[in-house]
Protein backbone atom coordinates (compact mmCIF):
# COMPACT_ATOMS: atom_id res chain seq x y z
CA UNK A 1 0.00 0.00 0.00
CA UNK A 2 1.37 3.43 -0.91
CA UNK A 3 0.28 7.02 -0.62
CA UNK A 4 0.65 9.21 -3.66
CA UNK A 5 -0.01 12.94 -3.76
CA UNK A 6 -0.72 14.56 -7.09
CA UNK A 7 -0.58 18.33 -7.49
CA UNK A 8 -1.80 18.73 -3.94
CA UNK A 9 -2.61 22.28 -2.88
CA UNK A 10 -3.90 23.73 0.34
CA UNK A 11 -4.55 27.43 0.35
CA UNK A 12 -5.87 29.38 3.33
CA UNK A 13 -7.64 32.77 2.97
CA UNK A 14 -8.58 31.84 -0.59
CA UNK A 15 -11.04 34.67 -1.05
CA UNK A 16 -8.76 37.38 0.29
CA UNK A 17 -6.01 39.45 -1.28
CA UNK A 18 -3.42 37.55 0.71
CA UNK A 19 -3.91 33.82 0.15
CA UNK A 20 -1.55 31.55 2.07
CA UNK A 21 -0.32 28.49 0.18
CA UNK A 22 0.40 26.00 2.95
CA UNK A 23 0.98 23.23 0.39
CA UNK A 24 1.67 24.23 -3.18
CA UNK A 25 1.28 21.78 -6.09
CA UNK A 26 2.99 18.92 -4.31
CA UNK A 27 3.76 15.58 -5.95
CA UNK A 28 4.95 12.90 -3.58
CA UNK A 29 4.86 9.15 -3.14
CA UNK A 30 5.42 7.28 0.10
CA UNK A 31 5.61 3.51 -0.01
CA UNK A 32 4.68 1.08 2.69
CA UNK A 33 7.42 0.41 5.21
CA UNK A 34 9.10 3.78 4.87
CA UNK A 35 10.32 5.80 7.85
CA UNK A 36 9.96 9.34 6.58
CA UNK A 37 10.71 12.67 8.24
CA UNK A 38 9.16 15.79 6.81
CA UNK A 39 11.24 18.66 8.11
CA UNK A 40 10.99 22.37 7.77
CA UNK A 41 10.62 25.53 9.78
CA UNK A 42 7.48 26.40 11.70
CA UNK A 43 4.67 27.43 9.36
CA UNK A 44 6.20 25.62 6.41
CA UNK A 45 3.09 23.48 5.98
CA UNK A 46 4.34 20.20 7.53
CA UNK A 47 1.29 19.69 9.75
CA UNK A 48 -1.10 20.60 6.94
CA UNK A 49 0.64 18.06 4.72
CA UNK A 50 0.39 15.35 7.36
CA UNK A 51 -3.26 16.16 7.98
CA UNK A 52 -4.05 15.81 4.28
CA UNK A 53 -2.02 12.59 4.04
CA UNK A 54 -4.03 11.25 6.94
CA UNK A 55 -7.36 12.37 5.47
CA UNK A 56 -8.29 14.72 8.30
CA UNK A 57 -7.98 17.87 6.23
CA UNK A 58 -9.32 18.59 2.76
CA UNK A 59 -6.98 19.98 0.12
CA UNK A 60 -7.97 22.94 -2.01
CA UNK A 61 -7.06 20.93 -5.09
CA UNK A 62 -5.14 17.84 -6.12
CA UNK A 63 -5.41 14.17 -5.24
CA UNK A 64 -4.49 11.94 -2.32
CA UNK A 65 -4.22 8.45 -3.80
CA UNK A 66 -3.95 5.40 -1.66
CA UNK A 67 -3.26 2.42 -3.88
CA UNK A 68 -4.52 4.60 -6.75
CA UNK A 69 -7.86 5.33 -5.03
CA UNK A 70 -8.47 9.01 -4.35
CA UNK A 71 -9.54 9.22 -0.71
CA UNK A 72 -11.03 12.66 -1.35
CA UNK A 73 -13.80 10.96 -3.27
CA UNK A 74 -14.85 8.92 -0.25
CA UNK A 75 -17.98 9.88 1.64
CA UNK A 76 -17.54 11.28 5.14
CA UNK A 77 -18.47 7.96 6.73
CA UNK A 78 -16.21 5.95 4.42
CA UNK A 79 -13.31 8.32 5.03
CA UNK A 80 -13.67 8.03 8.80
CA UNK A 81 -13.78 4.24 8.52
CA UNK A 82 -10.74 4.33 6.22
CA UNK A 83 -8.80 6.42 8.72
CA UNK A 84 -9.89 4.19 11.56
CA UNK A 85 -8.61 1.05 9.86
CA UNK A 86 -5.52 2.32 8.03
CA UNK A 87 -4.04 5.39 9.66
CA UNK A 88 -2.73 5.99 13.12
CA UNK A 89 -2.05 9.44 14.51
CA UNK A 90 0.48 10.65 17.03
CA UNK A 91 0.21 14.28 18.06
CA UNK A 92 2.68 16.69 19.56
CA UNK A 93 0.48 17.24 22.62
CA UNK A 94 -0.36 13.49 22.91
CA UNK A 95 -4.12 14.20 22.73
CA UNK A 96 -5.13 11.34 24.99
CA UNK A 97 -8.55 11.26 26.54
CA UNK A 98 -7.89 12.50 30.07
CA UNK A 99 -10.84 10.64 31.61
CA UNK A 100 -9.68 7.23 30.39
CA UNK A 101 -6.74 5.22 31.70
CA UNK A 102 -3.77 4.37 29.47
CA UNK A 103 -5.29 0.96 28.80
CA UNK A 104 -8.73 2.38 28.05
CA UNK A 105 -7.27 4.99 25.70
CA UNK A 106 -5.74 2.22 23.62
CA UNK A 107 -8.75 -0.09 23.87
CA UNK A 108 -11.10 2.66 22.81
CA UNK A 109 -9.77 3.01 19.24
CA UNK A 110 -9.93 -0.76 18.80
CA UNK A 111 -13.51 -0.81 20.01
CA UNK A 112 -14.32 1.71 17.29
CA UNK A 113 -13.27 -1.02 14.84
CA UNK A 114 -15.76 -3.38 16.43
CA UNK A 115 -13.33 -5.74 18.14
CA UNK A 116 -14.54 -7.68 21.16
CA UNK A 117 -13.74 -6.34 24.60
CA UNK A 118 -11.48 -9.30 25.27
CA UNK A 119 -9.53 -8.79 22.05
CA UNK A 120 -9.15 -5.08 22.75
CA UNK A 121 -7.98 -5.69 26.28
CA UNK A 122 -5.38 -8.25 25.14
CA UNK A 123 -3.91 -6.22 22.29
CA UNK A 124 -3.96 -2.96 24.23
CA UNK A 125 -2.15 -4.62 27.14
CA UNK A 126 0.42 -6.17 24.79
CA UNK A 127 1.07 -2.86 23.08
CA UNK A 128 1.43 -0.95 26.31
CA UNK A 129 3.83 -3.58 27.65
CA UNK A 130 5.77 -3.32 24.40
CA UNK A 131 6.14 0.44 24.78
CA UNK A 132 7.31 -0.07 28.35
CA UNK A 133 4.20 0.89 30.27
CA UNK A 134 3.38 -2.41 31.96
CA UNK A 135 3.33 -0.68 35.32
CA UNK A 136 1.09 2.14 34.21
CA UNK A 137 -1.84 0.44 32.47
CA UNK A 138 -4.46 1.78 34.82
CA UNK A 139 -3.15 5.29 35.26
CA UNK A 140 -4.86 8.25 33.70
CA UNK A 141 -2.78 10.53 31.45
CA UNK A 142 -2.47 13.21 34.14
CA UNK A 143 -0.55 10.70 36.28
CA UNK A 144 1.96 9.95 33.51
CA UNK A 145 5.03 11.89 32.37
CA UNK A 146 5.14 13.46 28.90
CA UNK A 147 7.26 10.61 27.59
CA UNK A 148 4.90 8.03 29.03
CA UNK A 149 1.89 9.80 27.57
CA UNK A 150 3.49 9.86 24.16
CA UNK A 151 4.14 6.13 24.45
CA UNK A 152 0.45 5.62 25.19
CA UNK A 153 -0.25 7.70 22.09
CA UNK A 154 2.04 5.43 20.08
CA UNK A 155 0.27 2.35 21.42
CA UNK A 156 -3.07 3.97 20.58
CA UNK A 157 -1.92 4.78 17.06
CA UNK A 158 -0.77 1.20 16.54
CA UNK A 159 -3.73 -0.53 18.18
CA UNK A 160 -5.89 -0.72 15.05
CA UNK A 161 -2.93 -2.17 13.10
CA UNK A 162 -2.67 0.77 10.70
CA UNK A 163 -0.67 0.77 7.50
CA UNK A 164 0.51 4.33 8.09
CA UNK A 165 1.27 6.31 11.21
CA UNK A 166 1.29 10.10 10.94
CA UNK A 167 3.35 11.59 13.76
CA UNK A 168 3.13 15.35 14.06
CA UNK A 169 6.21 16.54 15.95
CA UNK A 170 5.95 13.62 18.36
CA UNK A 171 9.14 14.45 20.24
CA UNK A 172 8.62 18.21 20.53
CA UNK A 173 7.69 18.04 24.20
CA UNK A 174 10.01 15.22 25.23
CA UNK A 175 13.44 15.16 26.80
CA UNK A 176 16.39 13.45 25.15
CA UNK A 177 15.94 10.15 26.98
CA UNK A 178 12.21 9.90 26.24
CA UNK A 179 12.82 10.89 22.62
CA UNK A 180 15.44 8.18 22.16
CA UNK A 181 13.21 5.55 23.77
CA UNK A 182 10.22 6.57 21.69
CA UNK A 183 12.21 6.52 18.46
CA UNK A 184 13.57 3.09 19.34
CA UNK A 185 10.06 1.80 19.74
CA UNK A 186 8.84 3.30 16.49
CA UNK A 187 11.88 2.15 14.56
CA UNK A 188 11.44 -1.36 15.92
CA UNK A 189 7.79 -1.41 14.86
CA UNK A 190 8.73 -0.10 11.43
CA UNK A 191 11.34 -2.77 10.94
CA UNK A 192 9.47 -5.68 12.47
CA UNK A 193 5.93 -5.02 11.31
CA UNK A 194 6.49 -2.85 8.26
CA UNK A 195 4.38 -0.01 9.62
CA UNK A 196 4.99 3.18 7.66
CA UNK A 197 5.90 6.18 9.83
CA UNK A 198 5.66 9.72 8.52
CA UNK A 199 6.94 12.38 10.91
CA UNK A 200 6.70 16.10 10.69
CA UNK A 201 9.59 17.42 12.71
CA UNK A 202 12.45 19.80 13.03
CA UNK A 203 14.06 17.69 15.69
CA UNK A 204 17.52 16.59 14.50
CA UNK A 205 17.22 13.49 16.71
CA UNK A 206 14.29 12.29 14.64
CA UNK A 207 15.84 13.35 11.34
CA UNK A 208 18.98 11.37 12.08
CA UNK A 209 16.90 8.20 12.48
CA UNK A 210 14.73 8.70 9.39
CA UNK A 211 15.40 6.63 6.27
CA UNK A 212 14.01 9.37 4.07
CA UNK A 213 13.98 13.09 4.72
CA UNK A 214 11.75 15.51 2.88
CA UNK A 215 12.58 19.17 3.36
CA UNK A 216 9.51 21.35 3.13
CA UNK A 217 9.43 25.11 2.92
CA UNK A 218 6.69 27.58 2.05
CA UNK A 219 4.45 24.76 0.92
CA UNK A 220 7.03 23.40 -1.51
CA UNK A 221 9.19 20.28 -1.45
CA UNK A 222 12.75 21.54 -1.46
CA UNK A 223 14.62 18.27 -0.95
CA UNK A 224 13.78 14.59 -0.84
CA UNK A 225 16.69 12.42 0.18
CA UNK A 226 17.15 8.79 1.15
CA UNK A 227 19.52 8.56 4.12
CA UNK A 228 22.07 5.89 4.61
CA UNK A 229 21.12 3.56 7.46
CA UNK A 230 22.86 4.36 10.70
CA UNK A 231 25.22 1.61 11.89
Amino acid sequence: MSIKLEQLCKTYNVDTDFPVHAVNHLDLEIKQGEFVAVMGPSGSGKTTLLNMLGGIDTPTSGKVLIDDNNILELHDKQLIAFRRDNIGFIFQDYSLLPVLTALENVEFVMQLQGHSEEECRKRATDLLIRVGLAEHLHKRPAKLSGGQQQRVAVARALAPSPKFVMADEPTANLDAKSTAELLDIMQQLNEQEGTTFIFSTHDPRVISRAKRVIVFEDGLKKEDTIQAESP
Partner: protein
Protein backbone atom coordinates in the same frame (compact mmCIF):
# COMPACT_ATOMS: atom_id res chain seq x y z
CA UNK B 1 -16.94 2.39 26.65
CA UNK B 2 -19.12 5.20 25.32
CA UNK B 3 -21.20 5.12 28.52
CA UNK B 4 -18.08 5.16 30.67
CA UNK B 5 -16.60 8.01 28.65
CA UNK B 6 -19.81 10.06 28.83
CA UNK B 7 -20.19 9.52 32.56
CA UNK B 8 -16.59 10.47 33.30
CA UNK B 9 -16.79 13.48 30.99
CA UNK B 10 -19.77 14.68 32.99
CA UNK B 11 -17.59 14.83 36.09
CA UNK B 12 -14.52 16.38 34.47
CA UNK B 13 -15.39 19.76 35.85
CA UNK B 14 -16.99 18.78 39.14
CA UNK B 15 -17.69 22.33 40.25
CA UNK B 16 -19.50 23.25 37.04
CA UNK B 17 -21.53 20.04 36.98
CA UNK B 18 -22.40 20.49 40.65
CA UNK B 19 -23.58 24.05 40.04
CA UNK B 20 -25.87 22.91 37.22
CA UNK B 21 -27.14 20.04 39.31
CA UNK B 22 -27.71 22.41 42.22
CA UNK B 23 -29.75 24.71 39.98
CA UNK B 24 -31.73 21.74 38.69
CA UNK B 25 -32.36 20.43 42.20
CA UNK B 26 -33.53 23.80 43.53
CA UNK B 27 -35.67 24.36 40.46
CA UNK B 28 -37.19 20.90 40.66
CA UNK B 29 -37.93 21.20 44.36
CA UNK B 30 -39.62 24.52 43.60
CA UNK B 31 -41.64 23.13 40.72
CA UNK B 32 -42.63 19.99 42.61
CA UNK B 33 -43.69 21.96 45.67
CA UNK B 34 -45.58 24.42 43.48
CA UNK B 35 -47.39 21.57 41.72
CA UNK B 36 -47.95 19.87 45.07
CA UNK B 37 -49.30 23.09 46.55
CA UNK B 38 -51.66 23.65 43.60
CA UNK B 39 -52.85 20.03 43.75
CA UNK B 40 -53.26 20.24 47.51
CA UNK B 41 -55.21 23.47 47.18
CA UNK B 42 -57.51 22.02 44.55
CA UNK B 43 -57.98 18.81 46.51
CA UNK B 44 -58.80 20.83 49.58
CA UNK B 45 -61.32 22.96 47.71
CA UNK B 46 -62.98 19.88 46.26
CA UNK B 47 -63.04 17.91 49.49
CA UNK B 48 -64.37 20.92 51.40
CA UNK B 49 -67.06 21.48 48.80
CA UNK B 50 -68.05 17.81 48.90
CA UNK B 51 -67.86 17.52 52.69
CA UNK B 52 -69.67 20.73 53.54
CA UNK B 53 -71.83 21.62 50.61
CA UNK B 54 -72.59 19.31 47.75
CA UNK B 55 -71.85 15.78 48.99
CA UNK B 56 -71.14 13.41 46.08
CA UNK B 57 -74.62 13.56 44.60
CA UNK B 58 -77.74 15.63 45.08
CA UNK B 59 -81.32 15.07 43.99
CA UNK B 60 -83.58 18.05 43.25
CA UNK B 61 -86.58 18.85 41.18
CA UNK B 62 -85.14 19.55 37.73
CA UNK B 63 -85.37 23.34 37.68
CA UNK B 64 -84.95 23.89 41.41
CA UNK B 65 -81.29 25.03 41.10
CA UNK B 66 -82.24 27.71 38.57
CA UNK B 67 -85.35 28.86 40.40
CA UNK B 68 -85.47 27.63 44.00
CA UNK B 69 -89.12 28.11 44.78
CA UNK B 70 -90.53 26.51 47.90
CA UNK B 71 -93.14 24.37 46.17
CA UNK B 72 -90.53 22.65 43.95
CA UNK B 73 -90.09 19.53 46.03
CA UNK B 74 -88.82 16.13 44.93
CA UNK B 75 -91.58 13.83 43.73
CA UNK B 76 -92.06 10.53 45.53
CA UNK B 77 -89.35 11.55 48.00
CA UNK B 78 -90.23 8.96 50.63
CA UNK B 79 -90.24 6.05 48.09
CA UNK B 80 -86.92 7.24 46.78
CA UNK B 81 -85.50 7.30 50.28
CA UNK B 82 -86.51 3.68 50.80
CA UNK B 83 -84.72 2.77 47.60
CA UNK B 84 -81.62 4.70 48.65
CA UNK B 85 -81.47 2.70 51.86
CA UNK B 86 -81.29 -0.47 49.78
CA UNK B 87 -78.38 0.69 47.62
CA UNK B 88 -75.23 -0.77 49.19
CA UNK B 89 -72.93 1.58 47.24
CA UNK B 90 -74.41 4.53 49.12
CA UNK B 91 -72.64 5.35 52.34
CA UNK B 92 -75.25 7.72 53.70
CA UNK B 93 -77.83 10.24 52.59
CA UNK B 94 -79.80 13.11 54.10
CA UNK B 95 -82.86 14.96 52.92
CA UNK B 96 -83.35 18.71 53.36
CA UNK B 97 -86.27 21.06 53.32
CA UNK B 98 -85.07 24.40 51.99
CA UNK B 99 -86.43 27.90 51.92
CA UNK B 100 -85.01 31.14 50.54
CA UNK B 101 -85.68 33.90 53.05
CA UNK B 102 -84.39 36.59 55.35
CA UNK B 103 -82.84 36.49 58.75
CA UNK B 104 -83.31 39.55 60.93
CA UNK B 105 -81.89 40.56 64.25
CA UNK B 106 -82.45 43.74 66.16
CA UNK B 107 -79.42 45.15 64.30
CA UNK B 108 -79.62 43.94 60.70
CA UNK B 109 -81.18 41.76 58.07
CA UNK B 110 -79.68 39.38 55.52
CA UNK B 111 -80.86 37.14 52.71
CA UNK B 112 -80.16 33.47 53.40
CA UNK B 113 -81.03 29.87 52.57
CA UNK B 114 -82.83 28.21 55.45
CA UNK B 115 -81.81 24.55 55.64
CA UNK B 116 -84.34 22.37 57.36
CA UNK B 117 -82.30 19.31 58.29
CA UNK B 118 -82.79 15.84 59.67
CA UNK B 119 -80.56 16.02 62.75
CA UNK B 120 -79.28 12.43 62.81
CA UNK B 121 -78.77 12.08 59.07
CA UNK B 122 -77.22 15.53 58.64
CA UNK B 123 -74.68 14.77 61.34
CA UNK B 124 -73.53 11.82 59.24
CA UNK B 125 -73.35 13.54 55.89
CA UNK B 126 -71.59 16.81 56.79
CA UNK B 127 -69.09 17.63 59.54
CA UNK B 128 -71.36 20.45 60.73
CA UNK B 129 -72.28 18.76 64.02
CA UNK B 130 -68.59 18.44 64.93
CA UNK B 131 -67.79 22.02 64.00
CA UNK B 132 -69.94 24.06 66.29
CA UNK B 133 -67.83 27.06 67.08
CA UNK B 134 -69.91 28.21 70.01
CA UNK B 135 -73.03 26.72 71.60
CA UNK B 136 -74.48 23.32 70.65
CA UNK B 137 -75.67 21.19 67.75
CA UNK B 138 -79.43 21.16 67.25
CA UNK B 139 -81.54 18.68 69.16
CA UNK B 140 -85.19 17.93 69.82
CA UNK B 141 -85.30 20.20 72.85
CA UNK B 142 -86.69 23.71 72.85
CA UNK B 143 -88.77 25.70 70.41
CA UNK B 144 -87.30 26.77 67.05
CA UNK B 145 -83.57 26.45 67.64
CA UNK B 146 -81.28 27.67 64.86
CA UNK B 147 -77.64 27.36 63.92
CA UNK B 148 -76.09 30.43 62.36
CA UNK B 149 -72.56 30.91 61.10
CA UNK B 150 -69.98 32.93 62.94
CA UNK B 151 -70.01 35.31 59.98
CA UNK B 152 -73.77 35.95 60.17
CA UNK B 153 -73.50 36.25 63.94
CA UNK B 154 -70.91 38.99 63.52
CA UNK B 155 -72.93 40.82 60.91
CA UNK B 156 -76.18 40.60 62.86
CA UNK B 157 -74.50 41.01 66.25
CA UNK B 158 -75.74 37.64 67.46
CA UNK B 159 -74.52 35.26 70.10
CA UNK B 160 -75.73 31.96 71.46
CA UNK B 161 -79.20 32.54 72.95
CA UNK B 162 -79.97 35.55 70.74
CA UNK B 163 -83.32 35.72 69.07
CA UNK B 164 -83.71 36.09 65.28
CA UNK B 165 -86.67 36.22 62.98
CA UNK B 166 -86.75 34.14 59.80
CA UNK B 167 -89.14 35.21 57.06
CA UNK B 168 -89.82 33.43 53.75
CA UNK B 169 -92.61 32.73 51.30
CA UNK B 170 -94.87 29.82 52.24
CA UNK B 171 -96.75 27.45 49.95
CA UNK B 172 -99.53 29.96 49.41
CA UNK B 173 -97.09 32.66 48.35
CA UNK B 174 -97.64 34.55 51.57
CA UNK B 175 -94.85 35.82 53.73
CA UNK B 176 -94.40 33.52 56.66
CA UNK B 177 -91.98 33.64 59.50
CA UNK B 178 -91.15 32.89 63.06
CA UNK B 179 -88.76 33.74 65.80
CA UNK B 180 -85.83 31.36 66.35
CA UNK B 181 -83.27 31.24 69.10
CA UNK B 182 -79.58 30.78 68.28
CA UNK B 183 -78.51 27.38 69.61
CA UNK B 184 -75.03 27.39 68.16
CA UNK B 185 -72.56 29.13 65.89
CA UNK B 186 -70.79 27.16 63.15
CA UNK B 187 -67.89 27.90 60.89
CA UNK B 188 -67.14 26.09 57.63
CA UNK B 189 -64.04 26.59 55.45
CA UNK B 190 -66.16 28.63 52.99
CA UNK B 191 -67.11 32.14 54.04
CA UNK B 192 -69.49 32.37 51.06
CA UNK B 193 -71.38 29.32 52.32
CA UNK B 194 -71.36 30.68 55.86
CA UNK B 195 -72.85 33.98 54.77
CA UNK B 196 -75.72 32.29 52.96
CA UNK B 197 -76.87 29.40 55.16
CA UNK B 198 -78.62 28.80 58.45
CA UNK B 199 -79.78 25.45 59.81
CA UNK B 200 -83.03 24.63 61.56
CA UNK B 201 -84.91 21.43 62.31
CA UNK B 202 -86.69 20.12 59.23
CA UNK B 203 -89.96 19.64 61.14
CA UNK B 204 -89.99 23.27 62.31
CA UNK B 205 -89.52 24.58 58.79
CA UNK B 206 -92.16 22.25 57.33
CA UNK B 207 -94.69 23.56 59.78
CA UNK B 208 -93.96 27.14 58.79
CA UNK B 209 -93.79 26.54 55.03
CA UNK B 210 -96.84 24.32 55.01
CA UNK B 211 -95.17 22.00 52.52
CA UNK B 212 -94.49 18.30 52.92
CA UNK B 213 -91.62 16.64 51.06
CA UNK B 214 -88.04 17.58 50.54
CA UNK B 215 -86.23 19.95 48.22
CA UNK B 216 -82.89 18.22 48.32
CA UNK B 217 -81.42 14.82 49.02
CA UNK B 218 -77.65 14.74 49.45
CA UNK B 219 -75.73 11.47 49.17
CA UNK B 220 -72.28 10.14 49.83
CA UNK B 221 -71.07 7.01 48.06
CA UNK B 222 -68.70 4.45 49.50
CA UNK B 223 -66.34 4.50 46.53
CA UNK B 224 -65.92 7.63 44.43
CA UNK B 225 -65.15 5.40 41.43
CA UNK B 226 -68.73 4.13 41.57
CA UNK B 227 -70.19 7.61 41.54
CA UNK B 228 -71.43 7.48 37.98
CA UNK B 229 -72.98 4.03 38.32
CA UNK B 230 -74.80 5.13 41.49
CA UNK B 231 -75.95 8.26 39.71
CA UNK B 232 -77.37 6.17 36.87
CA UNK B 233 -79.20 3.90 39.33
CA UNK B 234 -80.73 6.87 41.12
CA UNK B 235 -81.66 8.46 37.84
CA UNK B 236 -83.64 5.35 36.95
CA UNK B 237 -85.47 5.52 40.29
CA UNK B 238 -86.41 9.19 39.91
CA UNK B 239 -89.59 10.72 38.58
CA UNK B 240 -89.19 12.54 35.27
CA UNK B 241 -89.48 15.91 36.97
CA UNK B 242 -86.45 15.26 39.17
CA UNK B 243 -82.75 15.10 38.49
CA UNK B 244 -79.61 13.82 40.14
CA UNK B 245 -76.36 15.76 39.80
CA UNK B 246 -72.84 14.96 40.84
CA UNK B 247 -70.60 17.48 42.62
CA UNK B 248 -69.03 18.59 39.35
CA UNK B 249 -72.44 19.56 37.97
CA UNK B 250 -73.34 21.27 41.22
CA UNK B 251 -70.04 23.20 41.32
CA UNK B 252 -69.18 23.68 37.65
CA UNK B 253 -66.58 26.35 38.37
CA UNK B 254 -64.72 24.07 40.74
CA UNK B 255 -64.93 21.23 38.22
CA UNK B 256 -63.51 23.52 35.52
CA UNK B 257 -60.69 24.61 37.83
CA UNK B 258 -59.95 21.00 38.65
CA UNK B 259 -59.91 20.06 34.98
CA UNK B 260 -57.55 22.92 34.15
CA UNK B 261 -55.22 22.03 37.01
CA UNK B 262 -53.35 19.45 34.91
CA UNK B 263 -52.78 22.07 32.20
CA UNK B 264 -51.55 24.68 34.65
CA UNK B 265 -49.17 22.13 36.18
CA UNK B 266 -47.83 21.37 32.73
CA UNK B 267 -47.37 25.10 32.05
CA UNK B 268 -45.37 25.46 35.28
CA UNK B 269 -43.29 22.44 34.30
CA UNK B 270 -42.72 23.68 30.75
CA UNK B 271 -41.55 27.09 31.98
CA UNK B 272 -39.11 25.41 34.34
CA UNK B 273 -37.93 22.94 31.75
CA UNK B 274 -37.36 25.71 29.19
CA UNK B 275 -35.33 27.76 31.66
CA UNK B 276 -33.41 24.67 32.72
CA UNK B 277 -32.94 23.62 29.07
CA UNK B 278 -31.28 26.92 28.18
CA UNK B 279 -29.04 26.57 31.23
CA UNK B 280 -28.04 23.07 30.20
CA UNK B 281 -27.42 24.13 26.60
CA UNK B 282 -25.16 26.89 27.91
CA UNK B 283 -23.22 24.52 30.16
CA UNK B 284 -22.95 21.87 27.46
CA UNK B 285 -21.77 24.46 24.95
CA UNK B 286 -19.00 25.43 27.35
CA UNK B 287 -18.18 21.84 28.13
CA UNK B 288 -18.20 20.77 24.48
CA UNK B 289 -16.37 23.78 23.05
CA UNK B 290 -13.52 23.48 25.51
CA UNK B 291 -13.11 19.93 24.22
CA UNK B 292 -13.30 20.82 20.52
CA UNK B 293 -9.73 19.66 20.02
CA UNK B 294 -10.53 16.39 21.74
CA UNK B 295 -13.53 15.79 19.49
CA UNK B 296 -11.24 16.51 16.52
CA UNK B 297 -8.90 13.78 17.78
CA UNK B 298 -11.83 11.39 18.19
CA UNK B 299 -12.87 12.04 14.60
CA UNK B 300 -9.27 11.63 13.45
CA UNK B 301 -8.87 8.24 15.12
CA UNK B 302 -12.02 7.01 13.41
CA UNK B 303 -14.97 7.76 15.64
CA UNK B 304 -18.00 8.14 13.40
CA UNK B 305 -19.95 11.37 13.77
CA UNK B 306 -23.07 9.59 14.97
CA UNK B 307 -21.01 8.12 17.80
CA UNK B 308 -19.82 11.60 18.77
CA UNK B 309 -23.45 12.74 18.70
CA UNK B 310 -24.32 9.77 20.94
CA UNK B 311 -21.50 10.68 23.31
CA UNK B 312 -22.67 14.28 23.72
CA UNK B 313 -26.31 13.23 24.06
CA UNK B 314 -25.33 10.63 26.65
CA UNK B 315 -23.55 13.31 28.65
CA UNK B 316 -26.60 15.58 28.56
CA UNK B 317 -28.89 12.65 29.36
CA UNK B 318 -26.75 11.66 32.34
CA UNK B 319 -26.91 15.24 33.54
CA UNK B 320 -30.71 15.15 33.22
CA UNK B 321 -31.03 11.77 34.96
CA UNK B 322 -28.76 12.77 37.86
CA UNK B 323 -30.38 16.21 38.19
CA UNK B 324 -33.93 14.88 37.98
CA UNK B 325 -33.22 12.04 40.42
CA UNK B 326 -31.57 14.30 42.98
CA UNK B 327 -34.23 16.97 42.48
CA UNK B 328 -37.08 14.53 42.95
CA UNK B 329 -35.45 12.90 45.97
CA UNK B 330 -35.06 16.31 47.62
CA UNK B 331 -38.64 17.12 46.62
CA UNK B 332 -39.84 13.87 48.20
CA UNK B 333 -38.01 14.75 51.40
CA UNK B 334 -39.52 18.25 51.44
CA UNK B 335 -42.97 16.86 50.65
CA UNK B 336 -42.77 14.23 53.36
CA UNK B 337 -42.04 16.97 55.91
CA UNK B 338 -44.79 19.24 54.58
CA UNK B 339 -47.25 16.34 54.56
CA UNK B 340 -46.86 16.22 58.32
CA UNK B 341 -46.57 19.91 59.11
CA UNK B 342 -48.74 21.27 56.29
CA UNK B 343 -48.30 24.74 54.82
CA UNK B 344 -49.84 27.27 57.14
CA UNK B 345 -51.50 30.18 55.38
CA UNK B 346 -53.34 31.59 58.37
CA UNK B 347 -52.31 35.14 57.47
CA UNK B 348 -54.41 34.73 54.31
CA UNK B 349 -57.37 33.22 56.17
CA UNK B 350 -60.00 35.65 54.86
CA UNK B 351 -59.00 35.23 51.22
CA UNK B 352 -58.72 31.46 51.52
CA UNK B 353 -62.07 31.22 53.24
CA UNK B 354 -63.69 33.09 50.35
CA UNK B 355 -62.37 30.32 48.10
CA UNK B 356 -63.54 27.54 50.42
CA UNK B 357 -60.02 26.64 51.50
CA UNK B 358 -58.54 25.64 54.83
CA UNK B 359 -55.67 27.70 56.18
CA UNK B 360 -53.46 24.64 56.54
CA UNK B 361 -52.77 23.08 53.17
CA UNK B 362 -51.05 19.78 52.48
CA UNK B 363 -49.14 19.52 49.19
CA UNK B 364 -49.95 16.51 47.09
CA UNK B 365 -47.88 15.15 44.20
CA UNK B 366 -48.98 11.91 42.60
CA UNK B 367 -46.71 9.21 41.24
CA UNK B 368 -47.75 10.16 37.71
CA UNK B 369 -46.75 13.79 38.39
CA UNK B 370 -43.32 12.60 39.52
CA UNK B 371 -43.00 10.39 36.45
CA UNK B 372 -44.04 13.28 34.19
CA UNK B 373 -41.51 15.64 35.78
CA UNK B 374 -38.73 13.06 35.57
CA UNK B 375 -39.39 12.17 31.95
CA UNK B 376 -39.77 15.81 30.88
CA UNK B 377 -36.56 16.90 32.59
CA UNK B 378 -34.53 13.98 31.23
CA UNK B 379 -35.96 14.45 27.74
CA UNK B 380 -35.32 18.19 27.75
CA UNK B 381 -31.83 17.64 29.06
CA UNK B 382 -31.10 15.09 26.35
CA UNK B 383 -32.40 17.39 23.64
CA UNK B 384 -30.33 20.24 25.04
CA UNK B 385 -27.27 18.29 23.88
CA UNK B 386 -28.33 18.47 20.23
CA UNK B 387 -27.26 22.05 19.57
CA UNK B 388 -23.75 21.78 21.06
CA UNK B 389 -23.31 18.45 19.25
CA UNK B 390 -24.34 20.02 15.96
CA UNK B 391 -21.80 22.79 16.41
CA UNK B 392 -19.02 20.24 16.89
CA UNK B 393 -20.10 17.89 14.13
CA UNK B 394 -20.00 20.72 11.58
CA UNK B 395 -16.22 20.83 11.95
CA UNK B 396 -13.57 18.85 10.09
CA UNK B 397 -11.16 16.92 12.34
CA UNK B 398 -8.17 19.14 11.48
CA UNK B 399 -10.22 22.30 12.02
CA UNK B 400 -11.45 21.00 15.38
CA UNK B 401 -7.97 19.93 16.42
CA UNK B 402 -6.57 23.37 15.66
CA UNK B 403 -8.85 24.82 18.39
CA UNK B 404 -6.67 25.09 21.44
CA UNK B 405 -8.05 25.60 24.91
Amino acid sequence: MLLKLAWRNLWRNKLRTSIVLGAMVFGLVGVTLMIGFMNGMMDNMISNAINWQTSHLQVHQKDYSADPEIHKTISRSSQLQVQLDKMTQIKTWASRHLAQGMIASARSTRGITINGIDLQKEALITPLAQNIYDGFWLDDKGRNPILVSKKIAQRLKLRVGSKVVLTFTNKNGDVSGAAFRVRGLFKTPSSAFDEMNVFVRKADLKVLSGIEGDHEIALLVNDIKQLESVKRKIHVALAQSDSVQNWEELQPMLAAMSASMASSNIIILVIFVLAMGFGIVNILLMSVFERTCEFGVLMAVGMQKHKILQLILLESTFLGVVGATLGLLCSLAALSILKVTGISLSSLADGLSAMGLDTLLYPKVSGSDFALIFITVVLASSLAGLYPARQILKQEPAQAMSEKH
